[in-house]
Amino acid sequence: MRRYTPYMLLTPALLFTVFILVYPMAQNLVNSFRDVSLVREGRGWTGLLNYEHVFGDAVFWLAFRNTVVYAVAGTLLALLIGLGLALVLDVHTGKMSSVAAGLYSIPWVISPVVAGFAWKWLLNDHFGILNYWLSSAGIARHGTSWLGNPHTALFCVMVARAWQFYPFAMVMFLAGLQSIPAEQYEAASVDGASPLRKFFHITIPNLRPVSSVLLLLGVIWSFNDFNMVFVMTRGGPINASMVLPVLVREFSFVHFDLGKGSALSVLIFALLVTLSFLYLRVLARRERA
């Protein structure tokens, strides 16, 4: 009896995992080799045709590149902001710092839909406050379109995404900073180390484990992020900010080609799993070394 207890405890959670992950991915795998459409009778097994269609689609390659940029650069940006603010908060202590930490965390609590909307309105070419400031400062012209320009749209969405993710990084970094033993700094002070030296030789190395976790989670979450792009640009203009999750929806629910959508889903999942395993392997090796 005792031996089965943990399994019984885990059963409900596992059932949910099967429901949300195992079954859908298995179904995707099957669908990706078939012709399935929402709007007409499917034609049955088609082998690798769906994958050929995905790879032959120029928008796929564009979205792939965009997604990598969006996930990696966006996460790095968020980590930088988060680290900066965590350092600011770490200097201050007491009530003040706590209030500030609360305020800095607000973007994280706001729904992505609201965040996307807020940024879209802020960036509005003619009536947004951002263009007003930039043009007052002589940096950009009034009426500059940020989301309507294929060269800047993705960048803007990425900034909005970083804005939502940095508080998570900040909180984690702050916890990391506060767990660094004070003796290390004291010892360094005795040796006459400059603050900058202390930062690079004590703070940064101590934050490495947190940063790794954050980088991994951030990239995975951003890679899968659908909301920001959908709300701000729907992947436009002319697909310039198209990312893979939005493209899956396009294939499946705009073109109603479930087979092609499934093939793309399988590819995304495989990519993410491979990436994370490689990353975890590298981390483990570094820790052993």
């Binding site: 003619h126 009426g143 379109s145 294929p150 002319i238 629910f253 705009v254």
Partner: protein, 442 residues
Amino acid sequence: MNAAPLTTGGTMKRIIAGAALVAILGAMLGLSCGRKEDAVELHDWNFGGKPRMIEWLRQRIDTFEQTHRGIRVVQSQKSWNMIRELLYADFSVGTGPDVVNVHANYAAEFGGAGYYYPVNTFPDFQEVRKWFVPHLLESTRYRENYYGLPSSGIAFVLVCNKELFDREGISPPRTWSEFREAARRLTKDTDGDGIVDQYGLVLLGGDKGGFAYRLVPFFFKAGAEIMSDDLKTILFNSPEGVSALQLITDMYQVDHSITPGFLAYQLTEINDLFCSNKVAMSIEGPWFRGMVDDKSPGKKIYTVPVPVPDDRIAGYDTAATLQDMVMYSINARTKHPEQAWELLKYLRNEEADMAWIREDLGAIATTRRALESPEAKNQSDLSLYVHELGHAKPWPPHPSMIAIASDIFTPFAQKAIVGELSPREAMDQAAREAQEMIEGKK
């Protein structure tokens, strides 16, 4: 092991019990909202819509419920630029609204797929059809069946900001060169800070479907076709079609008279810019005057036909623009087709149509009685729309037409306008992909 946390004492218990209570209360409320004793419930979806129109519709539904005891109507506003997705998702499941009000060109797509109820099977259809202007009713037909009742005729026209035209001392353009010239002159720096802050033309670029509707009128005015009459060959890459795309491309790239950010714009932004005098022209339909009026009461606009190529000026009065129509249809899977048909007739009968004339709801009447009534003369722009509708062309009735327009035609045309492809290349590539689609290769 079951329900272990529920019996834990103190705060924990309260938190969980509280959450559960909220959930249960909510569920009960939800159930009670959704149920009314024995009444037949009809769901009606409308896409987009102006405040006045929505208000009118809700009043009309109220009186319907009062005069038709035992029928209850649940009306919802849905997203205009997600019509296809929303309806397909539901229709493919076999659910969805009983009554829906969308473009007539879905007659081919949804009628062909068996999702729409053929209304000509109702016994009194022969009577009902006499209410409507015949060629508008024809737009609801696909093959041998009629799939709805016309609700608003739409012709795409050129809308001009009168204030800006007057300031410049020019009148609305009739030919393409006048059009280009007007747009150029209306593009300017009004406050002298060296930055252009007023543009000649804006186009709805952020909505893939909506953009095609605004570009195709130029194709038709140039004499281009979208598809052959037998619906087997794509024709929009003809020299006439390419010349229409060339016009817009030149205005964007050479004259810079189109707002630089148009690719991101939804209808919201178009109206924002128009009402704040930042653009002078747009291609719109009957809804636009109402939108402008709600935002800037009293603002004057000209509505004129979309300009024609210079060498076709002789045919100015007869050149086709894009005809679109909105129609009320019935879901083929509805459990209450008779009641749905009653609602359809009630919303679209001659008396209802008269209200559209009298109250200027931003929709063009479709019944003969309303259009021929003395009041019709007072409705703004009505004569223009009636005139344009008299010789406008609808999208070819191919089931893939809407997909081709928004997912192939629009992206390629936009690539040409911003200079990624030449108009010729863009239209040829688009035509090739569209051809593959109608031949079922994709």
